[in-house]
Symmetry: C2
Subunit: 148 residues, 2 copies
DNA sequence: ATAATACTTAGAGTTTACTCTAGGTGTTGA
DNA sequence: TCAACACCTAGAGTAAACTCTAAGTATTAT
């Protein structure tokens, strides 16, 4: 099966601009064109797009994705480079998730605090309630830095 | 206590460029300047920087942070807008963490796969091993989309 | 006193990942 | 056949968040 750029737009949700841009940047090095220059995407190309989306979601930049594709095309001699890439990504994602957990706690504290502030009609009163003082102390190293 | 921009650079790790940029963008509306125009940051300003960092980490854009600061300065009449902001952020962070969990599984699969590929010296052999086929099926809706 | 250092402003430049425009070619249905 | 539509390229424009430059003033250490 082969697909026009319009088909791929519908399948992937990417814009035609973006698909051409990816190609220009060296992702999708195998998209064929017919006699009049019109792109015909293969199922293989669609699988690459799935992989590109995953790598993008993991935080890779486009030039890093291009590097990965180049390694892939060089075959088994680049297995260790590709392993390194995935190891590094895993570590970065772990850090990112830890970071988000910390931020989430802070935002949840604020959400609870503002619910209470609305209940009593005043932010300062809520902030100074014992249970919020305690929560703040539990969540933050420098609790007062977080009163803004 | 008051601090020069250089002091704040050391304390926060932000560059002087960035600090001036934040001010230009309406974050830090209270930074004082001495007779010759030199910035003197207060402890209050430093607390704002802590809050700004948190909001930035939660994914807010600078103009949204400015809006929050404006609401804060308008006092208790804007409590509900601020609560909405934190609720929305919490929801977005929840989605983001769910997204990262999915990506993490895919990257971990790749990491394991490439370890095995290096062990046997060939990616295809590893990919076709029963346990990796099973893992792939467990992790992805369209397993073969993930062989790139 | 003077050199080094820190600071000021306005505005230009950078990076990333698109997103769009202009001007044109090719395909298809009534 | 001819209008509508999908496609093409090269290159310009956009948004966000910085990052830096130039030209000048102020402060501080010796």
């Amino acid at each position: 099966m082969s697909y026009s750029i319009g088909d791929v737009v519908k399948k992937t949700g990417l814009s035609a601009y973006t698909l051409r841009y990816y190609e220009k940047e060296g992702l999708l090095p195998f998209v064929k064109k017919n006699a009049s220059g019109v792109r015909a995407y293969s199922d293989e190309d669609l699988r690459w797009l799935t992989m590109i989306e995953c790598l993008k979601d993991s935080g890779l930049q486009i030039k890093e994705i291009r590097q990965y594709i180049e390694w892939f095309n060089e075959g088994d001699s680049t297995l260790s480079q590709r392993l390194s890439l995935f190891e590094n990504r895993r570590k970065i994602l772990e850090k990112e998730m830890a970071r988000l957990t910390v931020v989430m706690n802070k935002i949840r504290y604020k959400e609870l605090l503002y619910r209470e502030a609305i209940r009593v009609g005043n932010l300062e009163i809520a902030t100074n309630e014992k249970r919020f003082m305690q929560l703040k102390k539990k969540l933050f190293e420098s609790p007062d830095d977080f009163d803004k």
